[in-house]
Amino acid sequence: MMIHIDHGRIIDPANNIDRIGSVYIEGGKIVSVTDEPAGFRPDTVIDASRQIVCPGFIDLSTRLRDMGHSRKATFKSEVIAAAAAGVTTLCLQPDTVPVIDTPAVVELIKELAEKADYPQIYAVGALTQKLEGTELSSMLSLKQAGCIAVGNGNQPVKNLLILRRAMEYAASHDLLMMFRPNDFWLSNNGCAHEGAVATRYGLPSTPEAAETIALAQCLELAELTGCRVHFGQLSCKRSVIKIHQAKKYGLKISADVAIHQLHLTENDMMPFDSAYHVLPPLRTEADKQYLRKGLAGSTLNSICSDHQPHDLDAKLGAFPETEPGMSSLETLLPLMLKLVTQHAITLEQGIACLSANPARVLRLESGALTPGFSADVCIFDSELDWQVNSENWKSQGVNTPFWGQTLKGRVTHTLQAGKIIHRL
């Protein structure tokens, strides 16, 4: 199968490319960018004129539900959403039901991924058994079964000694730890940011310190243990400052931010709208601006969707009783483009944060249009307006605060390993 993507604006940050040209694909691999290979006879030509051609997006934090949560969403429903979002690789967080803490569950996930015709789903293995935070999981077995990293999802590790041991063990097997910093006690079952809005509405709230203290502790342990750590879904200014200092100091760490944290603040969640219930909670305008700055200055190197589809019932209730999380794959690209139009980051940075940078975090040969790499390609029209409505929406979870809004920027084609998995 040969595919010729013709006359698009190719933006490939890893290879420093930004020019109008063609991408040539054969046998599921990129064979050439710009120069036509000799004897290339394409089966398919995609006209990409007035569109942007870039590496397929890599999402570092996704929930696809399924298995014990198939009422919320299934692999089948969510991979269609992922394809429509230009996402070609995604990391499944370990808090599935059952938890990803045995090779058998990893195998089950691979099977479900294959059945859904979307093979590039990487499982993040549980750091501790059943994510209970007390006993180490069989990390080596999980790695051998195909886990790309280990982590404890949103669950706390019982104490710092266990976290230290887990990080030492992960480091022994050269496993990346994905860590969402959150001190269980300080977070105090909060569902909103500890600030003026939570105070006005009497909502149980979580201070930034719940995140920054856990982050600071983990940074110390990263130095002590030598474990590679990727910090996920950071939400506040002081976390960005801590990551910046730690990187300057030379620690092997990286960090991402969920796309909604770059656009929404505590002020958007009034009054009691459960679509805005996320963890970590939406914080202040100052935090949002600093997260954007962190992205522009490469302190934060990736943007994740933090996709968490829910069934309707999960979001029907008084705010604190609803389940946290947004369905956010399909808004990923338009919200990234909005950062560009608002001059928070450049288009190249935005694409890198969704492709080359997360590939580097995961040590994947992907996230770039390098000849020989798997042909994971996203083609999008940055000017196309579309409405978030049931006609356009693919995810089974409709829990997005952007429902009904018109967004700019839409994926027209997605190729995964040279196969067209989405066409608008």
Binding site: G195, L203, P271, G317, A318, P320
Partner: protein
Amino acid sequence: MTDNLQLNAEGKLKHFLTIEGLSKSLLTEILDTAESFAGMSEHQVKKVPLLRGKTIVNLFFENSTRTRTTFELAATRLSADVINMNIATSATSKGESLLDTIRNLEAMFVDMFVVRHAISGAAHFIAQQTAPHISVINAGDGQHAHPTQAMLDMFTIRQLKPDFSSLRVAIIGDILHSRVARSEIQALNTLGAAEVRVIAPKTLLPAHVESLGVTVSHNLTVGLKDIDVVMMLRLQKERMSSALLPSESEYFKCFGLTEEKLKIAKPDAIVMHPGPINRGVEIDSKVADGPQSVILKQVSNGIAVRMAIMAMAMQAAPAPGRFSGIHTIPGDRHAGSLPACGIHTIPGDKGAAA
């Protein structure tokens, strides 16, 4: 935020969920309407037929004696049919969701829910989800709001100190967990009080409490200076076990209202408490039962104010002043001569409320 959810298309009260977003004139209208009901309790017949044929469900997901009783009395005096449901001990404990409970009650043709719930935002949620003809009155949701308590306190204050603009009010105690405090602060600020001061240790104050429009003091003896109205809040026992306070006795020493400390406030200051009071914890018995205390007046006023709010939310309120001084009120003893009352009345029938 303007909480439009609370108002109908004509800008009239539809639900009563929070003080926030309601105008000074609407709050004043509630107080004026309550005034017209206030004399009624002393009459032989304590009823008006404003809500005859209407069904009101007291939906209490949390236990309460005072609030539920005054709501029930208020509804009865408006001639509504009242059903008390203690959900704390029934349906939800069988796993039924809040929404299912509401849907089931809707199916029984009710006209109004009076809701108390332990979770902030529950009353908003019910108001958003319920059938359009049903009004929702918030009788306290989590740590968010208790707007009828705030209005009955405003009513009590106005009876004794009619000019809000000259008032300095201190709210003392567990502001962090108090829905009463949040609603009082909003009501006092909307009605134009000169100052609302909160007095508590840091552990009992929410983050950015100043953003609510209050001044802050951590010291009762300093904080009571120049105060016209002293509002005490109940201290829950579990605050000690969750490490917010060391002991009841230390709390009483620092923040308990005694006769001696009350002298720091203005000589004519009044003392209020939403109840139930913890004698010897937040307030000394001598103050609670003393001449400056208006605690029982608050309870009595609760009925008139809740009558006013229920009648207004059902668009059945009389013009202010209509019932004051009138002795012959058509009540239940005339019911037999009125058509379409009792079991024949269809809820929602406009004729029944006229």
